[in-house]
């Protein structure tokens, strides 16, 4: 730079200009020559971002024909006017960069998606709603990295199947009476379009939790019921008990999420005419027909999940082959609801294990599958099931195979119910592993349906107090200890001990169960408060339970928004930050659920 030179040689003007961008004029006065040096400033220079000219002048006081630094008396800078266009050379550092190219391509595909998505109502013949129970944003991020690392990548750049969907937004999850929600209120909002209280199923906020009489007039209609009325095939798939809050909200009306069988209910509620959730599932067809005059529906085609205990009498004679309790059933009214279902649908198929599942024909008219006494296994623990059970993706594939036989289309809800349970146990491994399985199930749905006629929405009911923290370097194992950029050794906290990237704000805290894949085993010990030295601990083992700040007997839900991802007709409506109840209305718009059902009822 000219501004830093000490001496400027008096070279021929043409040569000087071509070599350095400088020019010199000189004139004489009575005592000394006055020298002027002009220098061209390059584009991007500190003085002029678009280039320009710097002119230095002063007297040649020592008569050496050069303008020395101590002879400069005046400095002028004239910057060029801003460029009116960018040359390819000027943009090369951007356009040759892969991040730049990828994002540019994404903008282009997003623009195409915007132009091609079916924006008219009623274009979605099929609707599939995936719910990751407790799958908050941090869980999705960590599961993405986990899945990528399982595939040999660094991880951060990976995308889960549903993250590649063209539309996404956020849902505000709070319940009408609770800042941090539960699954009952949130799923009711999603499936009925009405936000309600914590702990209640399929009823509006006017209900009093646990009060049977208060249900009257508060019953909501669900998307699954509307689809059923409209003549579509319907299905519910979950890895939790089929009577658990999230799946129950699709078919039941209950002032208490825990009324899963008659033994769970107060006698006063039974006497007042309230029906337990399991019975409502088996009586779904009759209950729906009783609600709307002249209606004739054919019932839910596919029901798959756990929770056999709520359908069987409390009698060891009714135990199934993989009962874990000495008496599997919990019902004290002597009813065997599986037998009642079979009587109602003699052509239907009831199964309770993997062998039975594998034998289900794709043209089956009805399937009722209860694979476990309580919740189904974590995906990582499936091999330990006594009688064997299918994965979420296998159930999703089978459900679609059966449901898509209907020319009117279908409505399917798929829940990954145990992400929530793993988080409650403070075990990130199973939460992430089950999230990866959910992503696999979504891919199965994408691969087995026509995108032009199928709306797929993937979301969570609520989040958990699960965090991704510290400054781990790129590609650091997501379940590992924090190893900083440029190092191979874990960072040490102020207490001199290493710490993990993922952790919990509350819960049971540290557990080191090694290869233990059953997240709940940690509950057998009290909460661990304070920090633990993890130096010799394999924090990536399935049985490792992350540290927590606040000691609680069970880690809790969190109140922040959850992501909503969508593809197919009407998916463009999933954008922005909205109340969770919007999801029902997107499904309704896309598939004309209300108007189609109304047309049937008013016939």
């Amino acid at each position: 730079m000219v501004t830093k030179m000490n001496k400027i040689k008096l070279l021929p003007l043409a040569i000087l200009t071509s070599l350095t961008g400088c020019s010199i004029d000189f004139s004489t006065d009575s005592d000394n020559e006055t020298l002027t040096v002009a220098t061209q400033l390059e584009v991007g220079s500190e003085l002029c971002i678009n280039g320009g000219t710097q002119t230095l002048s002063g007297d040649d006081t020592n008569d050496n024909g050069e303008l020395d630094a101590d002879e400069i008396e005046d400095t002028k800078v004239e910057c060029n006017a801003p460029e009116t266009s960018l040359s390819s050379e000027q943009l090369a550092s951007l356009t040759n960069n892969q991040w730049f190219k990828d994002a540019q391509a994404k903008v282009s595909s997003s623009q195409t998606n915007r132009e091609t998505v079916a924006k008219e109502s009623g274009k979605a013949k099929n609707v599939i709603l995936f719910v990751g129970d407790g799958m908050g944003v941090s869980t999705v991020t960590a599961a993405r990295i986990f899945a990528g690392q399982l595939n040999g990548k660094q991880g951060e750049e990976h995308q889960l199947s549903f993250e590649m969907m063209p539309y996404s937004g956020f849902a505000k999850t709070y319940n009408v009476d609770a800042q941090t929600p539960d699954s009952a209120g949130t799923m009711t909002a999603m499936i009925s379009g009405v936000k309600t209280d914590v702990g209640v199923i399929g009823v509006a906020e006017g209900v009093e939790r646990g009060d049977c009489a208060s249900v009257d007039g508060q019953e909501l209609v669900t998307a699954l019921e509307l689809a059923e009325i409209a003549g579509k095939s319907t299905g519910i798939v979950t890895t939790a008990r089929i009577t658990h809050a999230t799946p129950a909200a699709t078919y039941a009306k209950s002032p208490d999420r825990n009324w899963e069988d008659n033994d769970d209910m107060p006698q006063t509620a039974i006497d007042a005419g309230c029906e337990d959730i399991a019975a409502q599932l088996v009586n779904f067809e009759a209950n729906l027909e009783a609600r709307f005059s002249g209606l004739d529906v054919n019932g839910i085609e596919v029901v798959m999940g756990g929770g056999r205990r709520h359908f069987l009498p409390k009698d060891a004679a009714f135990n199934s082959a993989d009962a874990v309790s000495s008496v599997e059933g919990d019902r004290t009214d002597s009813r065997d609801l599986t037998a009642e279902w079979q009587t109602q649908y003699p052509q239907g198929t009831y199964v309770m294990d993997k062998t039975g599942f594998d034998a289900i024909a794709t043209d089956a008219s009805k399937v009722f599958a209860l694979f476990n006494e309580s919740h189904m296994q974590y995906e990582a623990d499936r091999a330990n099931d006594i009688a064997g059970e299918p994965s979420l993706s296998e159930m999703t594939a089978k459900a679609i195979d059966i449901l898509d036989n209907n020319d009117n289309g279908f409505f399917l809800t798929v829940e990954s119910g145990r992400i929530d349970h793993a988080h409650h146990a403070g075990n990130a491994y199973n939460a992430l592993n089950d999230t990866v399985e959910l992503a696999k199930a979504v891919q199965v749905a994408i691969d087995n349906t026509n995108a032009e006629e199928t709306l797929i929405i993937v979301t969570a009911d609520h989040s958990h107090v699960f965090t991704i923290a510290g400054y781990p370097k790129r590609g650091n194992p997501i379940l590992g200890k924090v190893v900083p950029v440029g190092s191979d050794e874990p960072s040490l906290a102020d207490d001199g001990m290493p710490y993990t990237t993922v952790g919990y704000t509350n819960g049971l805290g540290f557990r080191d169960l090694g290869d233990e894949t059953d997240a709940e085993m940690s509950y057998l010990e009290p909460a661990v408060t304070g920090r633990v030295d993890l130096t010799g601990v394999d924090t990536q083992a399935p049985g490792f339970h992350q540290e927590s700040l606040v000691p609680l007997g069970s880690e809790t839900h969190a109140g922040e928004d959850v992501g909503v991802y969508a593809s197919g007709p009407g998916a463009h409506l999933v954008t922005g930050t909205n109340e969770q109840s919007l999801i029902f209305h997107v499904m309704d718009f896309a598939s004309d659920l209300v108007s189609s059902a109304d047309a049937v009822v008013t016939e």
């Binding site: 914590v198 000495s326 006594i386 929530d420 290869d515 057998l524 609680l552 069970s554």
Partner: protein
């Protein structure tokens, strides 16, 4: 020398199990055994009671307000349930699939079968179901002396000393009344139970809310031992 030790162990094992009276084993599969546990360390001594209940493939350890019940499944998994008798409530857990960590025999008879197997037979007396054996085990850390009823698979007494710490578990009474035992297990079975996986979703339930907020974990039942003579439960955490 190694061969001699192997033969000796086989002889002891054969002695312990080859002549097991099947009718005794049958009657011991339903049993209520009351124990007194006395722990002493230097000048401190404390006692408490523990009741061992067996009902076929179910075993329970009862102390004060806590009952730890285990169900032995067909695939050898063990499914634990913890009952809080004062509240008439229970928490059900998923079965553990990890063999080694969960020893059925340690729960069933307070002492892991592998520990019994490697103990030295010192003396034997009595006949039939009343036959008893004095067994001893010692290494550099621990000394264990057991008065064992092999036909009932039941300990009459267990004495453990480890440095200045000593523990004695003494059988106070045993009862094989099937009606009594069936009634007790049925009573526990009638308690309202919750999957532990569901505890976190039930903060509105006062009992479960207490469990969420305060832990509510109490190791009331104490004193059963693995193959190395190590106690498998802690010294009673109270939260």
């Amino acid at each position: 020398m190694k061969k001699l030790i192997t033969i000796a162990v086989m002889l002891v094992s054969n002695h312990l199990y080859a002549n097991t009276n099947s009718s005794c084993v049958q009657s011991s599969s339903q049993i209520k055994a009351q124990y007194q546990i006395t722990e002493s360390q230097q000048n401190h001594q404390q006692s408490r009671e523990l009741t061992l209940w067996r009902n076929g493939e179910q075993v329970a350890h009862q102390s004060d307000n806590i009952v730890e019940l285990w169900q032995h499944l067909k695939n050898n998994q063990i499914r634990p349930i913890r009952y809080f008798t004062e509240h008439k409530r229970g928490i059900e857990y998923q079965p553990s699939e990890v063999t080694g960590k969960q020893s059925w025999s340690a729960k069933y008879q307070l002492l892991d079968k592998k520990l019994i197997d490697k103990m030295k037979l010192v003396s034997e007396q009595g006949q039939g179901c009343d036959k008893s054996q004095l067994l001893e085990f010692a290494d550099k850390n621990i000394k264990i002396k057991v008065n064992w009823l092999p036909e009932l698979q039941l300990a009459q007494s267990i004495q453990i000393s480890q440095g200045q710490y000593a523990r004695e578990i003494k059988l106070l009474s045993k009862n094989t009344d099937k009606t009594l035992i069936n009634q007790q297990f049925k009573q526990w079975d009638l308690y309202q139970t919750t999957d532990y996986a569901d505890v976190g979703d039930n903060e509105n339930d006062p009992f479960l809310a207490k469990m969420i907020n305060q832990g509510f974990i109490e190791h009331g039942a104490t004193g059963f031992y693995n193959q190395n003579g190590e106690m498998l439960q802690g010294h009673g955490h109270h939260h």
